[in-house]
């Protein structure tokens, strides 16, 4: 049960932190349509995070971070607002700073492709709740992936500047790709039990999808990919997560027994 809860938190943290970064685009997108679309992606991921935290708390109530005295916050908020960086289990791809719109779409493409591959398998989890959450997420992530993929192709085939920018964004995002394929012991155990998915098992299919986008965009395949073990899954993060959490948690922590 502890493993299952930890696993749900890993997937929830990915979704929450990614949602938080995408939400920073709000009122800053290149056009109104993109403001709406990016908010949609952020909302979908936020919804996934909430369901997954709730599942984690139900499976292992002792694993819910302790709340300040007198706080009426539900478990999902205990996870989101009352853990420090070292307690978060999200991958680095979700936490790094936003960059430009090319970074946004490249990052969403890579993230959604990977998460879609995971959730497609996860919809057959032996845990019926995880399976249901995953089944719902599949539709959402398919949309995210297609949205971002269309933009990657558009930018690659747009102007000289947009091509230069989308290639630069790949260079920045690509070093974060290997971590997505690294298996954490919890993932390995759960995969063996049929409740979770080993990311190594979907790594090749993620590459296949990305290769299709590169082809459509007329881009070269990305090279150099250093091997890596789990990073964020073990609570080892980049500097970028700290200010993200400081901002996200500021109101909740300023009013530790507040009611919202």
């Amino acid at each position: 049960a502890r493993d299952l809860a930890t696993y749900a938190v890993m997937l929830a943290d990915d979704a929450l932190v990614m949602s938080q970064r995408i939400a920073e685009w709000c009122s800053n997108a290149p056009d109104l349509e993109e403001d709406v679309a990016l908010s949609n992606v952020a909302l979908d991921l936020l919804g996934q995070a909430r369901l997954l935290y709730t599942r984690a708390a139900a499976v292992d109530p002792d694993g819910v971070p302790p709340l300040p005295e007198g706080s009426p916050a539900p478990p999902e908020d205990a996870f989101a607002f009352f853990r420090d960086a070292a307690g978060f289990r999200n991958v680095h791809l979700t936490e790094v700073e936003n960059g430009d719109f090319a970074d946004a779409v490249v990052r969403i493409l890579v993230f959604a492709t990977w998460r879609l591959a995971l959730t497609e398998r996860l919809s057959e989890s032996t845990d019926p709740i995880l399976a249901a959450v995953a089944a719902k997420a599949v539709k959402e992530l398919t949309y995210h992936r297609d949205y971002a993929g269309r933009w990657v192709v558009t930018l690659a085939g747009g102007t000289e500047e947009s091509r230069r920018r989308v290639l630069a964004a790949w260079d920045r995002v690509w070093p974060l790709r290997p971590e997505l394929g690294a298996t954490h012991p919890v993932e390995e155990r759960l995969a063996r039990a049929g409740a979770g998915v080993d990311p190594a098992d979907v790594d090749a299919s993620v590459d296949d999808v990305l290769r299709q986008v590169w082809d459509a965009a007329g881009m070269e395949e990305q090279g150099h990919r250093p091997a890596t073990g789990p990073q964020g899954r073990d609570g080892r993060h980049t500097d970028a997560l700290v200010p993200l959490l400081a901002d996200m948690q500021s109101v909740a922590r300023a009013h530790p027994s507040g009611r919202w």
Binding site: P30, D35, V36, L46, A80, T154, T159, E161, H255, W260
Partner: protein, 315 residues
């Protein structure tokens, strides 16, 4: 409408439509001043939705619960959506979104003065929902019956969503009122800041609003500024009592004779200052919008170039 029909006949037809409270549609003839007034009014409304994303949007990343984060994100997304409907309604009058954006960014068209006030605590998210969206609804419900078809239909959809936002805002404040002393103080402080600016959202007093008569005759305005302001006060005072906050106006009192609440005079000089650019956040709001627009230029150009290329290729 034929090429030979002369102006007088067109005007007669136009007024007949207004007379039977029917709708003018994009392909109908309309007087140039009617068209221009509508463009200005719809554009200002659209711009307000877009600029209005900023003061609330700033709190999405800091929302104190995931539920509130989802609610707020969805709300700000709706505002972007409202902007889209309204720019589309405006485009049916022959002005492109790009032109309208330029008019906003150059300061030649305005947006609602309320968004030039800062948001300083999470209670402001509730107060904006309750008071600002509340005032907007008072303004907008009559516009659902406005004489210009696309505008009226956009307003119907918008009003439905706005009243949902208003309830959510009020509910946030209610919840905070059941929280800690500090939270109650936050709510009161927020209401203190937003009350007078909300009253100013209805515009200057009727005595100083020379265009009202023409707009009412054209059916693109249905009530005067002061009528709407009174309606808003009458609606809001009992809500404030239920909420347990004090509205910061010592003159506020029920007038049994009038059957309305009496209330004090807003500081019209402040409204003039805010409209003319000297409000607390005018520079900030415009700078944010301009920066976002400029930062996105290369993306819009890329999309245009890509579309041109793929249609050339016959793909």
């Amino acid at each position: 409408m034929t090429a030979t029909a002369d102006e007088a006949e067109l005007v007669t037809d136009f007024e007949a439509i207004l007379g039977r409270r029917d709708r003018i549609e994009p392909r109908d003839w309309m007087p140039e001043r009617y068209r221009r007034t509508l463009v200005r009014q719809i554009a200002q409304h659209a711009h307000s939705e877009i600029i209005g994303m900023q003061p609330e949007g700033a709190w999405i990343t800091r929302a104190p619960s995931l539920r509130r984060k989802a609610i707020l994100l969805a709300k700000v997304q709706d505002e972007a959506g409202h902007g889209l409907y309204l720019y589309s309604a405006c485009e049916t009058l022959g002005v492109s979104r790009q032109e309208l954006t330029e008019l906003l960014l150059s300061g030649r068209q305005k947006y609602s003065s309320i968004f030039n006030y800062p948001t300083l605590s999470y209670a402001d998210v509730g107060t904006i929902g309750w008071l600002v969206d509340g005032a907007a609804i008072c303004n907008q419900v009559p516009l659902c019956r406005t004489s210009y078809g696309p505008y009226g239909r956009a307003m119907i959809r918008i009003c439905k969503e706005e009243s949902f936002h208003q309830r959510q805002g009020y509910e946030l404040l209610m919840t905070m009122q059941r929280g800690t002393d500090e939270q109650r103080a936050m709510v009161q402080e927020s209401v203190d800041r937003f009350w007078w600016p909300s009253l100013m959202m209805f515009g200057p007093p009727d005595s100083q609003s020379p265009n009202t008569a023409q707009s009412m005759a054209w059916g693109i305005k249905r009530d005067t500024n002061d009528e709407l302001r009174q309606k808003f006060v009458d609606m809001t005072v009992p809500q404030a009592e239920a909420l347990g906050v004090t509205l910061p106006d010592p003159e506020l009192a029920w007038n049994a004779e009038r059957g309305h609440y009496d209330f004090g005079e807003p500081d019209w000089d402040e409204l003039t200052a805010v409209i003319s650019g000297d409000g607390p956040c005018n520079a900030e709001r415009m700078a944010h919008r301009r920066r976002a627009h400029e930062d996105g230029a290369w993306v819009r150009e890329a999309a245009t170039a890509f579309a041109a290329r793929t249609s050339e290729d016959g793909r």
